[in-house]
Symmetry: C2
């Protein structure tokens, strides 16, 4: 039998997964559904070496939550609070997922544009003073580091001390939000 090249099958599988997950969510979609929509056999999906969960992570859309509605001087603590709370609830952390998505995306330029638009731009609109855009980017970098490093390396002391993380890291993020005096 002459099938599509492995690269073509992989793209078809990812396109199908992206559409089905966006329409029906993770639980309602099976590998068999994805294979059927992609026009390939479930065995080939298995052979391509990705699980349903990996397919979901590969194709999930970037969906930043709205900024917490607090005064600017409390935003650093609020952003860290929310991030820690999401990780404690075992939710998929949006920033960490965005990094995973970018790393493996078939369309990295689009993912980058959505990331900058979704995470950096809302912060630029609330930050004051010089270099607001630079500082917004650095706040996103700092929050991304907390999200990915806590999840990937299960930092033992940080996981045991969520209040300490909120206090120390919240203060550092606030410093980036505020910028240097003068």
């Amino acid at each position: 039998m002459t099938g599509p090249a492995p690269g073509g099958s992989r793209k078809a599988m990812l396109d199908a997964a992206r559409e089905l997950f966006a329409a029906h969510g993770f639980d309602q979609v099976t590998i068999r559904d994805i294979a059927a929509r992609a026009g390939i056999s479930p065995a080939l999906v298995m052979k391509l070496g990705v699980s349903k969960r990996e397919l979901f992570l590969l194709t999930a859309t970037i969906a930043p939550p709205p900024l917490p509605e607090v005064p600017l001087e409390r935003l650093g603590a609020a952003l860290v609070d929310e991030l820690v709370a999401r990780l404690q609830r075992g939710e998929i952390e949006h920033l960490g997922r965005a990094h995973m998505l970018r790393m493996t995306a078939p369309d990295p330029t689009e993912v980058r544009a959505r990331f900058l638009g979704g995470y950096v731009e809302p912060l630029v609109r609330v930050i004051e003073g010089p270099q607001a855009r630079l500082r917004a980017e650095l706040v996103v970098a700092a929050l991304s580091g907390l999200a990915t490093t806590l999840r990937l390396f299960e930092l033992p002391t940080a996981i045991a001390s969520p209040d300490g993380v909120r206090a120390e890291y919240g203060r550092a993020v606030q410093l980036l939000l505020d910028g240097r005096p003068g």
Copy 2:
């Protein structure tokens, strides 16, 4: 022909790549060498959907550079300086590579132990005051975020303003190193 299961082939390929890259480096090793050592065909390596570069990233070891030799009160700026300089030289950034390695590692527990031992422990030994271990973990999280987010999302203002990154982010990292007064 009865070959090994796809999962088995993948493991054999990664084991072979890890050994060969560690012994001979990236440039001296071919996909054909890896396949031969793994006892699989080069065509199957292609079918498993990974490039030589991806194999390298998947199997590269965690190798943290030594801490910069500066007084503790200048360590935040020095750590950010070094990170920005490595990215500007186009070097593989160690922290970013460690995250990639952990995300895809066949041996995540070992990677985590090496990450904590290589990045967190040296900082614990130089940080002073209460919660030194927590703050060391958070410094690593902040530096990881800068490394991965700059590389993956090419933050436009940060890339255009390395001096601004050094000043603003260096100050935030220093705050984590110093801890809260009192």
